[in-house]
Amino acid sequence: MKKNKKIAAIIAAGTFAAAALAGCSNAAASSESSNSSSSSSETSKASSSSVSITMLNSKMEIQPQLEEMAKKYKEQTGVSIEVYSTANGASPAETIAQKYAAGDPPTLAMLDGTDILTIAKEKALDLSSEKWASDGGSTYGISIDGTLYSFPFCIEGRGLIYNKTIIEKLTGKEFNPDSIKSMDALKKLMDELVAAGMEHPMVINKEDWSLGAHYLATVYEEQDGTAAGAYKFTEGLTKGTEKLIENKRFNTIMDTFDMLKEYNINKADPMAADYDLNASYVAEGKSAFWFNGNWAWAEISEYVDDSTEMGIMPLVQNTSEDDFANNRLCASGSKQVMIDKIKATPEQQQAAKDFLNWLVYDEAGQSVLVNDCSLVPAFKNITLEVKDPLGQSIKKYVDGANTIEGFNGCPGDHWSTLGASMQKYLAGQIDRAGLASEVEAYWAKQAK
């Protein structure tokens, strides 16, 4: 009797353990089988076009609009898209890494340019032969060795945001940003503004992304205005063949920075700048210029009234007037969508491609990008008017092909590491030579 009980107990314990073990393996197996079953059901249903695909969204602010879009798309085509966004605070890179580690990657992944560069060769579908590639896709999308791997979801540009209304009010003259083509011209205008009673016409962010990824990166991008040129230059920094302090572009850009610093509204304590306050300064006319990009409209629009005219102009420098840096804007495809080729079935891949085409060529799709999400589209054929004034500025430069190519080759910690160096420079903790040597040291560390 006693023995029987014991055996029963052992069996019970064994079953538990087995169940626990099976729990794990089952989960894996069942997800496998559900994968395969769903894909097989998709194969059968593909003819009736009811494929379902997933999309990772890394622009959290447009998540509601994208969910709405998915509904519309389902009605129109029968293909269902499940849109989910990156977890709060997690970068797209982390999210996509987790998704691939879990074996459940999204069919369409909206990522930053650098992420595409790291993973595309292994995981992304070749999109070179898509129709939209020739309508702007290949210009603003990301190619590696001549193969296009991503769809540019929107264009974002950066430069000096200006408040036209307040400038005209204070100077009493019409303000034409195209007439400001050198640092001296900008300085003259700022002096006029100061004379007219505006104490600090400039706003500089303290955020490391703004200083590191946007201001400092201009130095690479404006070496010759192409991504290839930027790549060559950073290669030179890595190898130690480029000397930053002797670099002409670095010096003109930092000259402008020094000048802007003098007029900075946060000059007394530049590291205490507050992003929302910065937006209110320029929106309400307490200040006239802000170094930032068109995404800042989200914050500006909370403070601005409808009669205020605003726009973005290039970060001007004391070079010649026809220098491209004084005429063209740093604008590039900022969110890139790639299609997974590891787990997605051919049907899903096709559905994802169709969806991208829908965004570019279908009126409803165009309207999602431009009207619902207020983005600046990267495609020539989209003629819808961009809604916000900063976006309109960008669109003007994009349409005139007056953009400076974005550079995605910075390592992932570039913005925070060198952002900190730029912060030190902004706060007067290091001088230009010190900044140059920190930047050079950072790149030298990247040598493999």
């Binding site: 890179a93 590291m271 205490a272 706060a427």
Partner: protein, 293 residues
């Protein structure tokens, strides 16, 4: 019967400890071993290949000056905040067990900061340091508050310590209260009959009896302060100019931003070993001081 044979022993063991051992292995040992394995690769966190690089990552760690700087900074931060947390917690516990009016209300009040999560707490205090105190300082012309504490490396470090102390001292206070209440009344009475003053009774009777509380509180505050990340992120973001970047934040940035997963993992392992050594030493030394009533 056969109850002494190895097979029988194994059966009994599996019956009682099997499930727990299995779970322990699955959620602790396997990830740990895998983590250690990753320190020998140059994985970027997403690629399919995990190239084996031997001890390269550990050499990288020793060359990573920022890691050691942030570790030293963290050591300073831990040392200062552990002293403040425990000092204030003990004083508070002493006050709210001395029979002052409204002590239950005060206990709840002091404990409340601990109920607010680190991230929210960081944002609240960021507002206090960057805006509220600055307005106050400029309005009344008080020099030390007229610029944001968070824009100065030294002051930002102290801001971290103030908030940490504020967050944890209420929690440690609870443990000290339990310790104080646990000192048998007959001992303190005997001491006062023997003519000990209040201070002497506290110093020679109450404190020795409370050593277990100190050991626990020190252990908790040391480990928590070492691993601080949420507060660091939401209060200072490691700034200004990365001057308050604690070691956990550095490891995170190494692994996920610089995409040097192997090096980050190696740094995390080294951090783990350091914290384990300090924690165990502290408990070992503390336990030796424990006395029986």
């Amino acid at each position: 019967m056969n109850e002494k044979t190895l097979a029988a022993k194994t059966k009994t063991f599996l019956m009682f400890a099997g499930p727990a051992v299995f779970v322990f292995i699955a959620v602790l040992i396997v990830p740990l071993v895998y983590g250690v394995y990753l320190t020998f690769t140059s994985w970027d966190g997403i690629s399919n290949n995990k190239p084996f690089v031997g001890l390269n990552n550990y050499i990288e760690v020793f060359k990573d000056k920022e890691f050691w700087n942030s570790l030293v900074l963290t050591l300073k931060y831990v040392a200062v905040s552990v002293v403040f947390i425990n000092l204030i917690a003990f004083i508070l516990a002493f006050l709210v067990t001395s029979g002052i009016k409204g002590q239950n209300f005060l206990r709840a009040g002091f404990f409340t900061p601990n109920l607010i999560g680190g991230v929210v707490l960081g944002f609240i205090w960021r507002f206090v340091f960057a805006r509220a105190l600055v307005s106050f300082g400029t309005a009344f012309d008080i020099d030390i508050f007229s610029t944001s504490w968070l824009s100065d490396p030294q002051k930002a470090f102290w801001a971290m310590i103030i908030v940490t102390t504020w967050q944890y001292s209420g929690y440690m206070m609870l443990i000290y209260i339990a310790g104080l209440m646990g000192v048998p009344k007959d001992l303190t009475e005997a001491a006062s009959i023997d003519g000990a003053t209040g201070f002497q009774a506290t110093r020679h009777v109450v404190l020795p009896m409370m050593v277990p509380s100190f050991v626990i509180c020190l252990f908790l505050s040391i480990t928590r302060c070492f691993m601080v990340y949420d507060l660091n992120l939401s209060l200072t973001e490691g700034g200004p100019f990365a001057a308050t970047r604690m070691v956990a934040m550095h490891v995170y940035k190494k692994a996920f931003e610089a995409k040097q997963y192997g090096t980050g993992q190696a740094e995390a392992l080294i951090l783990f070993i350091i914290v384990a050594i300090i924690g165990i030493t502290q408990i070992y030394l503390g336990k030796r001081k424990e006395v029986e009533a």
